[in-house]
Amino acid sequence: MLLELSQDDSGSTAEARRQIEICNACRYCEGYCSVFPAMTRQKMFSDGDITHLANLCHNCRGCYYACQYTEPHEFALNLPAALAEVRQESWERLVWPAPFSRLFHTHGVAIAGMLVAGISALFALIAALPESAGDGFYAHLSHNAMVAVFTPGFLLPLVAVAIGLYRYWRDVGAGPITLPDIGNAFASAATLRNLDGGQGQGCNFEREDRYTDLRRWFHQAVLYGFLACFAATSVATLMHYFLDWQAPYGLFTPPKLLGVPGGIALVIGTSGLVWLKMRADPKLGASRVWGGEVAFVLLLGLVAASGLALYAATGTFAVSSLLALHLGSVLALFLLLPYTKMVHGFFRIAALLAEEAKRKG
């Protein structure tokens, strides 16, 4: 059994394996999240097993503060950090092309650079194209021009993510999934069950060994805010093509009823997450990507804030600049989707699905 496993003997996967073998001999943390029950299924862990456990970990940090073997103990356990590093490396390794991942995950400056490039491109585009006949912001940039930029800008990153997920599924050796598995996995994500401390008391992210639920609330504000904004755009596209109902839309139309609350939730959620991140101990996460993570959350916040500002500025001279700012940041967000923290959402769902499949044996 020992010799059949594919095992990397150095680096972060080996370190996570060392720690997991200690955890598996202790099991005191079983009640915190899905990682520990998943661990008890085996005694030996292949590289794929470690990748799976790492992507299942939501970094609630409950196990760290409960651990009798953290430093200065010679076992030096810091499972949240060990799994965060493996998780990070798995995205960087699996998402194509890997060098992009390494660049943007690690360097907030690179993300900022992409943002500037995106905004500049949009300014240039608006300047280059003649004023179109459309109303509202379409007067500055026609619907067709937007579609021409954003269709590839949205689909190409999804291809890169799909390649990563395919490799992930193969690496962790997950079996076929059923409809109930999908239901369970999405229910877990919808409630962030793995960040509730096991009993709804919350996690240990920003107040050390005291539990708080702030991270879950802020994260879900971001998640649902993003989904609402995405739905707003989708519904507007449908209205555009099938109802021949073009923007600008009033406040009491589906795109705005979804987009405005969604944007506000995103601004609150991203601000909250950055605030929590400033207070949390960076040593309990993948500290080398701290800057990249913060830059990504700020970018997401900028997308929302600029969208709201654009709406507020309807009919004023500021529309052209705000349009470039908003669409430029949206473009940067989309293009960076596979290579920033954004990608964790896809891998998280994949891990929750894989866990449902594995749990059944």
Partner: protein, 476 residues
């Protein structure tokens, strides 16, 4: 934190120690309105004494309670205690503790302790023992947070060297902070909850003999029994056998201190156990492991160099919880012997002899299956399967000390006793007095029960005494 501390002379209650019993006492005293100082000997990351290694609380209950299933009545609980202590217990005090355990559980939950259903592999305890979510360190964290919220002052790295007692009254404590000069701290009452002496190697050696130099200490290195000895030297009454400690056989590669739960090895019933000379020395299959693990510490301690080796084959590897260290592997018994530092030929002969004595029959790992060796001395009376399927695995085992039995005698109010009566303002709780109830053996989760029950009583009594004292002083 720049909390304004009261002047040193005005503490109502000083608690010596920083584990479960100490914190229960501190919380109770503070809730009564006392100004409380906790003196924890360990630095903050190691706070909590042996409590940080615990995982559950044995609790009487007359119906489903929190995570506990069914019922667990006083008599059954007491019988379980009698079984492990072989009657070495103070029945009155034991039953008192058992009865009090039931109201402790909700009290613990109200102060932030969270329980979880029985851990995998421990289903047999789901009725009797409530497991802490995250284990004992999470419990300790919850109590320190609750104490902070109540305004209790906590000092870490506080080495208490002397409890000054005049006539029947405690006057002050001598303590050094972080190795600094000895300071005196006065208080109206003191609770002693500083554990046993198992981390004082010389004391262990003088109690047990030179073999104790090879013992591993499973828990905190800070339980050196300084306060216990100081009180005994001042004429306090003792309980518990001064020469005995509770020891189990653990993975021999465990750290000298603080190895905790992950160093335990449950492989003995499925092994051939040999000593340094590659010879068997005891019936590995005498009974199911939960009923035998406690005697193996003593058995291994009785072998040359206080070491033993478990030899299994590939068919048994998945029958027990893994220890933290990977087993030593050999494709042949000789190779395994070589790697373990045993005489390969002799080990092969011992295992060969064992295999020859095995009889065909049904092997049932979960119960006494009566699959016994024939004509072997000593015999293996259950689970005796030949060790023949490579690869072969080996573990080194050594005695691991959990706690010591010697302690301070207390009454039901946790007051420390002397031959001429109780001290008027000194209470004790936890391991330092557990010997009154647990004279021999161990019952899982009972140490936390004793600590919680007597910690609460001690805190309550000490606070009442101190507040009464303060009132009298104010009137005068």
């Amino acid at each position: 934190m720049n909390r304004l501390e009261p002047p040193r002379h005005s503490w109502d209650v000083v608690v010596v120690g920083g584990g479960n019993a100490a914190l229960c006492a501190a919380l109770c005293a503070a809730e009564e309105g006392a100004r409380v100082l906790v003196l924890e000997g360990a630095p903050k990351p190691y706070r909590g004494g042996n409590s940080r290694h615990t995982r559950n609380f044995r609790c009487k209950h007359e119906g489903p309670l929190s995570v506990l299933t069914g019922t667990y009545g006083e008599d059954e609980y007491f019988q379980d205690l009698m079984l492990v202590t072989k009657g070495k217990t103070d029945e009155d005090l034991a039953r008192f503790t058992i009865r009090a355990s039931e109201e402790c559980l909700p009290w613990m939950e109200a102060r932030g302790v969270r329980f979880q259903p029985s851990l995998s592999g421990t289903l047999s305890l789901s009725r009797t023992n409530a497991f802490f979510l995250g284990g004992g360190k999470a419990l300790v964290n919850a109590y320190y947070n609750a104490a902070e919220d109540l305004g209790v002052s906590v000092r870490y790295e506080a080495q208490v060297s002397h409890i000054a007692v005049e006539a029947d009254r405690f006057k002050h404590i001598e303590v050094s902070f972080s190795g600094g000069p000895v300071e005196r701290i006065s208080a109206r009452a003191v609770v002693l909850a500083s554990g046993g002496f198992q981390a004082d190697r010389e004391w262990l050696v003088s109690a047990w003999g030179p073999a104790a130099r090879n013992f591993l200490i499973r828990g905190t290195p800070y339980n050196r029994g300084v306060v216990l000895r100081d009180m005994l030297d001042q004429g306090c009454e003792s309980v518990g056998d001064p020469t005995q400690c509770h020891a189990v056989a653990i993975d021999g590669r465990a750290p000298q201190y603080d190895g905790g739960i992950v160093t335990r090895l449950d492989c003995v019933p499925f092994s051939v156990m040999v000593n340094r000379d590659a010879e068997r020395f005891y019936d590995e299959g005498e009974d199911v492991w939960p009923k035998r693990y406690a005697i193996w510490g003593r058995l291994v301690a009785g072998q040359p160099d206080q070491v033993a080796y478990a030899i299994i084959d590939s068919t048994s590897l998945d029958l027990f919880m893994p220890s933290v260290f990977r087993p030593v592997v050999g494709q042949t018994i000789e190779e395994l012997g070589e790697k373990l530092g045993l005489d390969p030929a002799k080990l092969a002969k011992t295992v060969g002899g064992f295999n020859a004595a095995c009889k065909p029959g049904a092997f049932t790992p979960t119960e006494l299956d009566g699959l016994s060796t024939e004509g072997l001395d000593p015999p293996k009376t259950n689970w005796a399967r030949p060790v023949t399927e490579p690869p072969f695995y080996g573990y080194q085992l050594r005695p691991g000390v959990t706690f010591t039995y010697l302690g301070l005698k207390v009454d039901k109010t946790a007051r420390v006793q002397t031959p001429s009566g109780a001290l008027s303002n000194v209470w004790a709780a936890g391991e330092i007095m557990a010997g009154s109830i647990l004279g021999q053996g161990y019952l899982a989760g009972f140490g936390m029960t004793i600590g919680t029950v007597f910690g609460r009583i001690a805190g309550h009594e000490a606070a009442r005494h101190a507040l009464n004292d303060r009132e009298i002083a104010d009137v005068a």
